[in-house]
């Protein structure tokens, strides 16, 4: 189908769709006139029930904990999928990283970027840990803090080179973090099952509201989620980097393959 005719078909469909969609949305209460039952109830009782000042964390990891576990496994499956797709395939082989090669294609990192990157690395990792650890008290938690941690790790690549990134994520540590986080969430759930007969039951004492050690199991789940998200994002980004810098086609006769053969 040509682009013009495709556009026409789409426009007709889109006008109909948008009209139906807006008609449906018009049945909602006005913006700002919220009258939901769950939010209202939770805002009244959740602080007393769970001692977590961040209600969003209480909902995510406690009231809706089982659902979040499902979401976690979507993340897990997606990361595994990326790893499978991006690892070296049958007709490819792994080479020394491009930016390590003597005839490196990428320009050298400027000193300003290196200094800034190395200077900011520590604070970013610390901030990531802070965001994960205080998820039940202030905005943040495992999902946000995990991504912050992962960006900190990628900063090492930006400031240095790929081998430096491999240096701080040795072997299969990202894979391990991801798997441990995913397993830890289920482990917390099973502990609840053992303690009270309900999966993911929040059986720990809730502690004093506002302290780091409050809200029972929520900080622990946060920790495992943070571990999984950080591991998952580091894994995704290193797989992409590896694909760009390390993986080479062997027999296609492309310029890279040829250069590889000339060198050896």
């Amino acid at each position: 189908m040509s682009l013009a005719s495709r556009r026409t078909v789409f426009l007709v469909a889109a006008v109909g769709f948008a009209a139906l969609f807006l008609w449906g949305l018009a049945g909602l209460p006005d913006f700002g006139a919220y009258d939901g039952v769950y939010g209202e109830t939770l805002n009244r009782v959740a602080l007393r029930q769970r001692h977590a000042t961040n209600l969003v964390a209480a909902v995510t990891f406690d009231y809706r904990g089982f659902d979040t576990m499902g979401e976690e496994y979507i993340l897990f499956a997606a990361v595994v999928g990326v790893a499978i797709l991006m690892r070296a395939q049958r007709d490819e082989e792994e080479d020394a990283p491009d930016d390590d090669a003597r005839d490196r294609l990428t320009p050298r990192t400027s000193d300003a970027v290196r200094v800034l990157g190395l200077g900011v690395f520590g604070p970013i990792v610390l901030f990531g840990i802070y965001v994960v650890a205080h998820g039940h008290l202030t905005p943040g938690g495992g999902f946000q803090g995990g991504v912050v941690l992962a960006t900190g790790v990628v900063l090492v690549y930006l400031a240095g080179r790929y081998s430096a990134l491999r240096g701080i994520t040795p072997g299969a540590s990202a894979e391990f973090a991801e798997a441990a986080g995913a397993a830890g969430y289920v482990g917390v759930g099973l502990l609840g099952l053992l303690a009270s007969g309900t999966f993911l039951f929040n059986w720990l004492p809730f502690g004093t509201t506002g302290l780091l050690t409050s809200a029972g199991m929520i900080p622990f789940i946060n920790l495992f989620v943070g571990l999984e998200v950080a591991g998952g994002f580091v894994l995704i980004l290193t797989e992409f980097l590896e694909q760009t810098l390390v993986v080479r086609e062997v027999d296609s006769g492309g310029p890279e393959g040829k250069r590889e053969r000339d060198r050896s």
């Binding site: 789409f10 700002g32 976690e72 991006m86």
Partner: protein, 114 residues
């Protein structure tokens, strides 16, 4: 103003869909899909919003004080992060398609080779 957020959500959905339909580049297509996805975030948060209410963080405020709905925020929060990894999976697929066929243009992928 009372309907504007819903209209924006609908606009994001339709414009993202337009991008997908007319896309000539697989990576462009993945990005348009993430725009469609962001439409659901705007819609959910708009439904949970209440005029004059505070965020559902009860550090200073007392329970029962007007706060916006934490449930829709919890739904959105996890999806933002999980959606990014799904986008990564799609990008990885696009890279593999490019390797196999040398193009990002979905229209040039007439036949699928094994």
């Amino acid at each position: 103003m009372s309907f504007a957020p819903f209209a924006v959500a609908a606009w994001l959905f339709v414009i993202g869909l337009y991008g997908i339909v007319t896309s000539r580049h697989l990576i462009h297509l993945v990005i348009c899909l993430s725009v469609v996805q962001s439409s659901t975030y705007v819609l959910l948060l708009a439904i949970g919003y209440r005029t004059g209410a505070a965020a559902p963080i009860f550090v200073d405020t007392k329970p029962g004080a007007p706060a916006v709905d934490p449930v829709v925020q919890a739904l959105t929060l996890t999806d933002v992060v999980v959606g990014a990894t799904v986008s990564a999976l799609l990008l990885a697929l696009a890279v593999q398609v490019h390797k196999a066929s040398g193009t990002f243009d979905p229209d040039e992928l007439d036949t699928l080779r094994g």
